[in-house]
Subunit: 365 residues, 2 copies
């Protein structure tokens, strides 16, 4: 009997996070009697998609918002404001010694300073990113870079992320993302800072993610590549956790969002739109996910040599079998190790074969 | 202004997992317009709780189950069988060299051998653990130890875990847990193996978790202790991630489930019942969670000195505000760092003040 990764359970290593993923391809055939999600994401009635609603939604242009009843401007492209209920505060004192024994290995704590912003993608509450024009998407990319540049001057880490769909805890359907900036490196950043540096030192100054995409493009018949264009590539990583997880990254060595050339920004809008159309077409639903950007640290770390970093975006979508059946990361996953049923190669092939040009909703009409 | 951990965002360190948790106590007041769960967990109609249903549920005594249409025995206490759709296979070959370049830092993979078992807690599909008799719970503890002992002889890691409630991806409401054993240390085990060892070496042979509970019992007015008895303690860890997360551990130095004395097994049943009654009484619902046991590695590692390990169980429950509002670990949490709104001290106080004797359902009648 030969090992067959489409039939035999195995573990794959994620060199960016220094952890393993259990892949159980033989398990896909198990019946599902568990929870079935409402397919609320698929709001089929988009008759009024081009007419603005009354601004009852606090993210709409002109809406009244927050504790101080502020009014949003009648914005036409994107709009950024401070979260009315931020998870991070900018101005707090350090814990006193008795609460901050950093010599104490068991009870360690530090103040968490930062800022939380919300960024509306579009004035229209019903228009999701894959159905926006490329021209509009270019405004989103430009706003990301502006906000990033602004916060990066002050904070070590600027986390841009989008929760899409109520199954991902998104509390407002208006197209938007969030930006949380911190005066410390969060766990994920700290780990990737270490692993990319270690790789760089071990491999004579090679960049982990550039080596990785070079091999994905050349050594494996592009079996995990979903799409690529002149400047960007989307792969289902060899070590993907979520069923249809993807990583989006520039082909050139780029440390941060703010380093992208005009051409690269344009290519980014194009490939994002294609990827998100594919995602929506997979189960004919507005595909839920959490996505976010990772790049080299900033703030007082900006002058350190971070050349081992490569900018990348991650998409973590939970759906596995249909618009209503998601993968649960519970039990064994929480207590021992993350586990997936479909192989990354199967996911990549499936996504590759879907249209990235015509959205399923536009096909209908 | 002084630092106030009930008002100021801060990070706490988890020494077992070597990672940080963002605590944002100021955020609890934010309004929730996001997803509201069905309160399916609270099956109020338990009129027939003492009469057995027809065995249509594959976990019931006498039910027909799985690919080969096996019949379950008419079990009276617990019943253990092999998962019909296992995530791990016992008998698979090693990947060939081209698929298993362990010198290759980017594409690493190994075969994942193991076994997946299901353990029914009780013949009655409607009876959850907190409402079982202590006598019955003692059968569960004994079966855990039996299965553990059996698998521990062969596998490095034996993960006993329970997913309770459909919000935790539990695909069958019959009271049951699972046991997955692996011929390798999963991520969580590998990390705790390292952190406990490092602490032991640094602190002249002290055991991390024993030092920790000593200080929780003596240094902080028991502010994070939920309950304790002669042999066991339940705390909301200083570094808890989930809103009402708890850790349950023996007060004596115990490496593995199979090392518990008869007295300790009895005390375990008592404290588990109390904790689970408290949990159900918190939001008057059958409280969903994933729980599981962590102890020293086994299999071919059993002869290594693992005396820095301490047995403990973890409860990870997702609900935060009510029976229908859960904490979503998405966006910032997935991409940067886990985040919580209520402090561990608040959670512990709330749980402490709830009855651990009378279940809310038994109060009604
Ligand atoms: O084995 P079950 O109950 O069908 O499945 C559940 O528990 C497993 C182990 O934690 C997870 O991998 C699944 O995602 C979850 O739905
Ligand atoms: O900020 P929101 O959309 O209200 O909340 C959502 O995103 C946050 C950041 O990922 C999470 O902490 C919350 O659990 C989630 O519900």
């Amino acid at each position: 009997m030969n090992f067959d990764r489409t039939k035999h359970s195995h573990c794959r290593y994620n060199p960016l996070k220094d952890e393993w993923i259990l892949v159980s391809p033989q398990r896909l055939s198990r019946p599902w009697q568990g929870r079935v999600e409402d397919d609320k994401n698929d709001n089929d009635d988009d008759s009024d998609i081009n007419s603005n609603e009354k601004p009852t939604n606090p993210l709409c242009p002109g809406a009244i918002r927050g504790k101080n009843n502020q009014q949003n401007p009648f914005y036409e492209h994107t709009y950024v404001f401070e979260n009315d209920y931020p998870a991070l505060l900018a101005d707090i004192p350090d814990p006193k010694n008795d609460q901050n024994n950093n010599n104490d290995d068991l009870f360690q704590c530090h103040a968490a300073r930062g800022v939380c912003k919300v960024m509306c993608f579009h004035p229209n509450s019903k228009l999701t990113l894959p159905r926006m024009t490329l021209d509009h998407i270019s405004h989103i990319v430009k706003t990301w870079i502006e906000v990033y540049r602004d916060l990066a001057s002050q904070y070590q880490w600027v986390q841009i992320f989008e929760n899409r769909g109520d199954v991902m805890g998104c509390s407002n359907p208006h197209p938007h993302c969030q930006i949380w900036a911190t005066d410390f490196l969060p766990n994920e950043a700290r780990i990737k800072h270490r692993t990319q540096k270690d790789y760089f030192l071990k491999h004579n100054g090679n960049v982990l993610l550039l080596d990785y995409i070079k091999r994905e493009l050349n050594d494996f018949n592009k079996e995990r590549v979903v799409i690529d264009n002149e400047h960007w590539i989307v792969v289902v990583p060899y070590w993907a956790v979520w069923p249809y997880e993807t990583m989006l990254l520039p082909k050139r060595h780029v440390l941060r969002l703010s380093d992208l050339s005009d051409e690269e920004q344009k290519g980014l809008g194009e490939i994002m739109k294609q990827l998100l159309i594919k995602y929506d077409n997979l189960f004919n639903t507005s595909f839920p996910y959490s996505m976010g950007w990772h790049g080299a640290p900033t703030g007082d770390l900006i002058n350190e040599d971070c050349s081992y970093w490569q900018l990348h975006a991650l998409y973590y979508p939970p759906l596995v079998r249909s618009a209503t059946i998601k993968k649960f990361m519970v039990g064994f996953e929480m207590l021992a190790q993350v586990q997936r049923d479909i192989t990354p190669e199967f996911a990549a092939e499936t996504l590759r074969n879907l249209s990235g040009e015509i959205h399923y909703k536009d096909k209908k009409n």
